[in-house]
């Protein structure tokens, strides 16, 4: 079964979200998502300072199988983008939860409560693989 850490929040579109000590959130794609996509070959992260609406397309991951959009899990402003992941896309395959793609300053911290917890995401993954 896929690795789904309890300390993270998740989206139905397979992003993981980690609340940091300073109130910002880090965003990446889940272990399950990278498993479906296969070997990553290209990553594009959002520009720092960009304002994102919840659900907005803001990054791209491309694997040997497919190109896929990454969506903003909640509304906010992009604080940082991870140049290391852009330089070595394979780091997502090696450890999806270490390979954060960008961080956001949430427009509204309470929005995090609307995301899935680990159990909720696990159930969502199970429902997709009928």
């Amino acid at each position: 079964m896929s690795n789904i850490p309890n300390n993270l929040k998740y989206t139905k579109s397979h992003e993981w979200v980690r609340l940091e000590a300073d109130g910002s959130v880090a965003v990446g794609i889940t272990q399950h998502a990278q498993d479906l996509l296969g070997d990553m070959v290209f990553v594009e992260t959002p520009v720092v300072g960009r304002e994102l609406a919840a659900g907005e397309e803001c990054a791209v991951v491309e694997s040997v199988k497919a190109a896929s959009d990454v969506y903003a899990p909640i509304a906010g402003v992009v604080l940082a983008a991870n140049a290391d992941v852009e330089a070595s896309p394979e780091s997502i395959n090696q450890d999806a939860y270490a390979a954060w793609m960008f961080t956001l300053k949430p427009a509204n911290a309470a929005d995090l409560d609307g995301l899935l917890d680990a159990a909720g995401y696990e159930a969502h993954v199970a429902s997709e693989s009928h």
Partner: protein
């Protein structure tokens, strides 16, 4: 080994140097290059052997069963090619007077008429030079239609998620907002989602039928009705026309516009991006907007429609007569088959797909849509096999190469996990299909008993498993001298 690595200083293919050709010695000195170009210096025989050797490493439809099907390229009868290459066609100047090109123009006119007949549309234009070009023409006409009526609030094109990826791209290119609707478990458009999606903002719907899931939309007439009642137009993506050719007609189903990939369904050897032809057929209400070029006939005289006489046309989409070589091959193919022959193409494409699907199901393969009859292609999902043995669809495909079969399409459509999309096409014999089914079963057994053998396949080809990831990350496309 690259052709550059065969090079030897001073070696030449003299036969290719023009005899007594005048030198370009009137070029200004400052425009002349100071160093010779970096071209491989090889003999003619080296070149012949090099490229013949490469071609022998290829899998192709001339050498092996090729279950990528019409989606990539089906078998193209040799006659289509040789007749389209007749010197009278080949040497015709595109600016030659219409009076001296009546044979060619008559062929184009008859092709338009045959395409009208087989799709049930009111008019056809040959202008688009590829499938995506045809899609663009189709949606541009939908837009021109709404604009001409002053109905400019229609900003959305609805696209089901089982559509071809080009459909949302086309709608976006034409300035529309794409509204995606889901597919139900049976692979059909979700009618409730469609009803909820249509409204006064709906410009149209783009439908791929049979869809990328390889099934015919069961409620296609109702889908039409919902879109038309909302004031939208309907677009039929004819990329999978092979499945329905002459059996059902998009015009009869009520569609307003269709594009056809003649290079796929109508016999043009192609690949790697061309050459193609993507004519569009339209209903009566879209006829004024057809792009040029297309051919008109007046008292047995054939001529191109002019810009002046079709003022509402979305415009000229290709120079001269479109992609004439592809159109001529399509003409020969259509004339050889005739109406009944075209129906047989669809019948045998569907029969072969359903026979192979049934054979594979019998020996334990899981079909993605087991309750549905396949159209011209079907999907096997290897999800269970991967969970049990670790063998992925990619591993499976690589091992099939060792058995002498080109692999089917892998990982498309993306809606189905670990999938193989198999399209045998109409020209394969039962013996070939049986041999392919036996190879599939053999690989499945190997996956269960000797997974490492499958994981490291192919073993019998000139190249072993390549590192797709590394190849894409570290692009190495240009040869440089050591």
């Amino acid at each position: 080994m690259l052709i550059f690595e065969h090079a030897h200083p001073g070696r030449r293919a003299h036969a290719q140097a023009p005899y007594n050709a005048p030198l370009a010695d009137d070029l200004p000195a400052d425009m002349l290059r100071q160093t010779p170009p970096l071209l491989p210096e090889t003999s003619e025989l080296d070149v012949v052997r090099h490229y013949t050797g490469l071609s022998q490493k290829n899998f192709s439809i001339d050498t092996q069963f090729y279950p990528l099907g019409s989606c990539t390229m089906k078998y193209n009868p040799r006659a289509c090619n040789s007749l389209a290459m007749l010197p009278q066609f080949l040497n015709r100047h595109p600016l030659a007077a219409e009076e001296t090109g009546q044979g060619f123009l008559a062929s184009m006119y008859e092709l338009q008429e045959m395409l009208k007949e087989v799709t049930g549309m009111a008019a056809v234009s040959m202008a688009p030079m590829a499938g995506a070009h045809g899609e663009f023409a189709g949606v541009a006409m939908i837009r021109a239609y709404h604009d001409a009526r002053g109905d400019t609030a229609r900003r959305e094109i609805i696209v089901p998620d089982a559509a071809h990826g080009t459909n949302p791209a086309t709608a976006t290119m034409c300035g529309y907002v794409v509204k995606e609707i889901p597919t139900d478990r049976q692979g059909n458009v979700d009618l409730d989602a469609l009803k909820a999606a249509v409204g006064p903002q709906t410009a149209g719907l783009m439908l791929t039928n049979p869809s990328t899931l390889g099934v015919f939309e069961k409620t296609i007439v109702e889908i039409q009705k919902i879109v038309h009642e909302a004031g939208g137009l309907s677009y039929y993506d004819g990329a999978n026309l092979n499945a329905i050719l002459g059996r059902v007609r998009p015009g009869d189903m009520g569609f307003d516009v269709i594009h056809m990939n003649l290079h796929k369904t109508f016999s043009t050897p192609h690949g790697g991006g061309g050459p193609g032809a993507g004519p569009v057929g339209v209903s009566e209400r879209l006829q004024p907007f057809l792009p040029i070029p297309y051919v008109l006939s007046e008292r047995e005289f054939y001529r191109w429609a002019t810009e002046a006489e079709v003022p509402h046309s979305i415009g000229r989409m290709s120079a001269f007569g479109g992609n004439m070589g592809v159109l001529l091959r399509a003409y020969v193919y259509a004339r050889m088959l005739g109406g009944r022959g075209m129906q047989r193409v669809a019948e045998f494409a569907a029969l072969n797909a359903n026979y192979l699907a049934a054979e594979l199901k019998k020996v334990g393969f899981e079909l993605a849509f087991p309750e549905r009859r396949a159209s011209h292609e079907f999907i096997v999902t290897l999800k269970k096999l991967k969970d049990e043995t670790g063998i992925s669809a990619m591993d499976f495909a690589k091992r099939l190469l060792d058995y002498g079969f080109h692999a089917p399409t892998t990982y498309f459509p993306m809606l189905v996990p670990e999938c193989l999309l198999i399209e045998p096409t109409e020209t394969e014999s039962k013996e070939t299909l049986d041999a392919f089914a036996r190879a599939m079963l053999a690989v499945k057994r190997e996956a269960e008993s000797q997974p490492d053998l499958v994981k490291s396949a192919p073993h019998k080809l000139p190249s072993r498993r390549l590192d797709d990831g590394k190849a894409a990350r570290e692009l190495d496309l240009v040869w440089k001298p050591a």
